[in-house]
Symmetry: C2
């Protein structure tokens, strides 16, 4: 087999693992399956990775970076604010529809990390990255167009992250048989209303708060 530096071999094994996980699920992804997918012997696996956990760690960070890239690609400034939000959601949604397994994998890995003691931080870091990605996006958009927010950036970012998470998961379970367009339209309108173009908002929104 083609010889290559272990760093590259590590990358190759990581990608092979992602393919297997995407295809067969995390539970069925054994070291042997990964090695076979990468076309190398099992010994090479242990030559490149201390243990299976080390490989999984590599997979999680790689997948996470990939996911953030997808989200950032989705949202680009358009003509109007409404268009921007709508196009962003649409782009993201198209990606979900095109690569459902990939998104499913992120959920699986999140749970895998949450259950494995000492791995929780990976799941947490990943989701914090999602939030930051949305925050960056909003900030960038705010500079591009001239707009004001009715809610703090962090709140909007978290809202978007949780929202897309929930919608995606529900799509993965229910598939196309459900009428998602209506839901997406509702969400789009809502988000657009939270990010006002100019309008001197009638509702400042902060008043009474019942601290739990």
């Amino acid at each position: 087999m083609a010889r290559m530096p272990s760093a590259e071999r590590r990358r190759q094994l990581t990608e092979a693992a992602i393919r297997v996980m995407t295809r067969d699920g995390v539970a069925k992804t054994t070291t042997r399956a990964i090695a076979a997918e990468a076309g190398v012997s099992l010994s090479v696996f242990h030559y490149c990775f201390e243990s299976k956990q080390a490989l999984v760690e590599s997979v999680i960070t790689t997948i996470g970076d990939h996911y953030v890239t997808v989200v950032k690609e989705a949202l680009r400034p358009r003509e109007t604010l409404e268009d921007t939000v709508r196009a962003g959601f649409q782009a993201y949604w198209d990606h979900v529809r095109a690569h459902p397994d990939e998104h499913m994998l992120t959920y699986e890995l999140t749970q895998y990390a949450l259950r494995r003691p000492g791995f929780e931080h990976l799941a947490r870091r990943q989701h914090e990255m999602y939030g930051e990605a949305y925050s960056d996006l909003i900030e960038q958009l705010r500079r591009g167009m001239d707009l004001r927010l009715r809610v703090p950036v962090t709140v909007l970012a978290r809202y978007l992250a949780a929202m897309t998470d929930g919608l995606t998961l529900n799509y993965l379970v229910l598939g196309d048989r459900a009428a998602w367009t209506g839901v997406l339209d509702t969400v789009t309108a809502h988000v657009a209303s939270l990010v006002t173009d100019d309008v001197p908002a009638a509702a400042p929104e902060p008043p009474d708060r019942a601290p739990r």
Copy 2:
């Protein structure tokens, strides 16, 4: 060991399995662990259940019913519409905070079902039940108070289901360190705005039309 009819034994084993799954995760839940938790020998397990899959099937439906009950309990008609929505979210959220493992389990089981060929329908049925539960809730609320919807019931129901799903998952990952109150307030206001209180009198909230 106390002798008991297999039907009851089945129920007992199902509950034991739920306890183990909640505590240790689905992946670590073995037939031996379940039997030990129930305090019976391994053979009793296979006397009561054809296979482990049959047990899991029982677990999924049981957990699903339980979850729907929680959601239905959460939303009860209050004084005003806003109060009703807020109290509903609050009750649900309190339940999540009190029993995070339980909610985590529902996500795990969903994925387990989605990955196991021939089990997808269980995950699907469960999520459809969530949607129906919300639909029922909305209908019931609509009869109780007099209100109109700005969006179809199914859309609102799906939106609520996906929303709570996403928020819950994010809470399970990030925990209390994130500021969820802001997000919950935003969502509450949004949902309340989708379900208009018919009475236009004494509007405490700012009217959505801009007076010149």
